[in-house]
């Protein structure tokens, strides 16, 4: 059974707020997806639909060609971990592993315990007594070791320290190679994670702004630098994300795929064309919202 995800025109409103607006996308097995958006953009809401925590107000969602909501063929194969509040949790990680082993069809207890030891998570200590960094690492462990066909990790890395995050990123790559599945990593910390993504979805204010393979997306953005006048002429008519000027030198960030001819033209005019990172694209594509705030 191929558990690909197809979302068609999904909208979701609750408490008078339209959290998702007409969102459509597909997700394929074997790929790692970066779901990027600012705080409150609707990332977690979208992911909670995939995990059948709730239903969309309109539109349709299919996993493996079936509606996942209340579907016992699908729900066990969607694993969703997020920053959970463990302040009242007396159970230790080992109980959670035991439970996952009983109910998650592909959960690997051995791998979970190995990962826990690498993250230095004590297995028999109540979760409420673990530091927030260890709790995050525990969530990530649960998510990875469940080996669900659809593995959703929603900002579980925020509280981890840098070495732990690094270990986690390596594990994501290793797991995707050994046990290919759909992995969705949602984040607003783009810069250090972008190399993990095969495909990027950017949500902004409930709308899907970008839905593109990572390579194509970053090749579309470029920074054009040179003499102010020449730069202005060159970027005329293109989608401009940002510009900076120092003396007569200007640098304009564009969101446009340049043709071979345009590359040659830029070179002839002495313009420098540099890459821009996903982080920069994200910041500037969602910038308008900043002004509204």
């Amino acid at each position: 059974m191929n558990l690909n995800v197809v979302a068609k025109n999904i909208s979701l409103s609750y408490k008078g707020v339209e959290a998702l607006k007409d969102v459509s996308f597909t997700l394929e097995q074997g790929k790692t997806y970066g779901l990027i958006g600012r705080n409150g953009a609707g990332k977690t809401t979208l992911l909670s639909l995939l995990a059948s925590y709730r239903e969309p107000t309109s539109g349709s969602l299919f996993i493996g060609g079936e509606d996942p909501f209340e579907n016992r063929n699908i729900m066990p194969h969607v694993g969703f971990v997020y920053e959970t509040n463990y302040s009242d949790e007396y159970d230790p990680p080992s109980s959670y592993f035991e439970f996952a082993e009983r109910y998650r069809p592909n959960f690997d207890r051995g791998y979970a315990e190995e990962l826990a030891s690498r993250f230095k998570i004590p297995l028999n200590k109540p979760l409420k007594e673990l530091s927030s960094g260890k709790q995050s690492a525990f969530n990530a462990t649960l998510g990875l070791a469940s080996r669900s066909s659809i593995t959703i990790l929603d900002e579980v890395y925020l509280a981890m320290d840098a070495p732990t995050r690094d270990l986690f990123y390596k594990e994501v790559i290793e797991e995707q190679a050994q046990h290919p599945r759909i992995m969705i990593l949602s984040t607003h910390l783009v810069s250090e994670m972008e190399y993990l993504f095969d495909h990027v979805l950017i949500l902004d204010n409930g709308k899907l702004l970008v839905n593109e393979p990572f390579d194509e997306l970053v090749s579309r953005g470029a920074a054009v630098t040179g003499s102010s006048k020449v730069v202005d002429e060159f970027v005329n008519g293109m989608t401009k994300l940002n510009s900076q000027q120092l003396g007569d030198t200007k640098s304009v960030m564009i969101y446009e795929k340049l043709s071979e001819k345009q590359w040659a033209e830029a070179e002839r005019q002495g313009l420098q064309i540099g890459p821009i990172s996903l982080q920069e694209l994200f910041i500037h594509l969602t910038k308008e919202e900043l002004k509204d705030d």
Partner: protein
């Protein structure tokens, strides 16, 4: 890869063991109170209650409380682990019913031990059942059955309260407390012939029903309660905490 099979049996078993573990604290405490209190409180001694009938009252409250706790905690936990609301519902319903019978069964064993002791010593175990069961001569089967049914009703009302708050928030939850109180009172009315907490003072004229009628009425009530719960939780949104 896809198992697709129902997990109801597994869920019922897991929930049974989780809750019977709590009951294994509860039963000995009540048993100790049962043995000690009549020595100090004359009124209790005069009731001369059989242990099954003694534990019946606190069991109602115990079941109400675990009904609230399990529903608040385990429904989201199971669903977040890929279990459907439907499977959880059936698993929890079976699990809670077996817990109610389990408590009464274990209590019956304790009462049986007291009788054995009574047979071989000067100790005289109490033998009275609740007033409403005095028409039957059975002190084992019928009380176990009836007390379990009533306890299930209390569990259902706890489950209703939890779902009310979980799904509808403060005011909705309050509304469900009223529904639950009404539900409990109607259950008690069927059995005890009068309303209970907090309407015990109300003198509702209600005929003393013959046992089979009460039993059937109680079963119908349990089914109705479960139907309300299923209806409310069928497509419930799981909160992320």
């Amino acid at each position: 890869m896809t198992n697709g099979t129902s997990n109801i049996g597994k869920i019922a078993k897991d929930l049974f063991f989780i809750q019977i573990k709590w009951a294994l604290w509860f039963i000995p405490i009540v048993f100790a109170v049962y043995l000690i209190v009549p020595h100090f409180v004359k009124d209790v001694a005069e009731l001369n209650l059989h242990f099954l009938s003694f534990i019946y009252q606190p069991t109602k409250i115990f079941m109400l409380v675990i009904g609230i706790i399990t529903s608040l905690y385990y429904l989201p936990y199971f669903v977040s682990n890929g279990i459907t609301r439907k499977d959880y519902f059936y698993g929890a319903a079976i699990g809670s019913a077996t817990v109610a019978f389990g408590i009464m069964f274990l209590s019956a064993i304790l009462a049986g031990i007291l009788e054995l002791i009574g047979a071989f010593s000067n100790y005289q175990p109490s033998t009275s059942t609740m007033e409403f069961l005095q028409s039957t001569s059975s002190i084992w089967i019928i009380p176990i059955l009836v007390y379990s049914f009533i306890s299930i009703g209390y569990y259902i009302s706890g489950w209703m309260i939890a779902l009310g708050f979980y799904r509808f928030g403060g005011w909705g939850g309050m509304g469900f407390i009223l529904v639950a109180i009404l539900y409990i009172n109607l259950t008690d009315l069927i059995w005890e012939g009068h309303a209970s907490h907090p309407f015990g003072w109300l003198n509702i004229p209600f005929p003393d029903l013959p046992l089979p009628v009460s039993l059937i009425g109680a079963l119908i009530f349990i089914l109705l309660g479960f139907m309300v719960i299923r209806k409310v939780s069928k497509r419930i949104t799981i909160a992320m905490e």
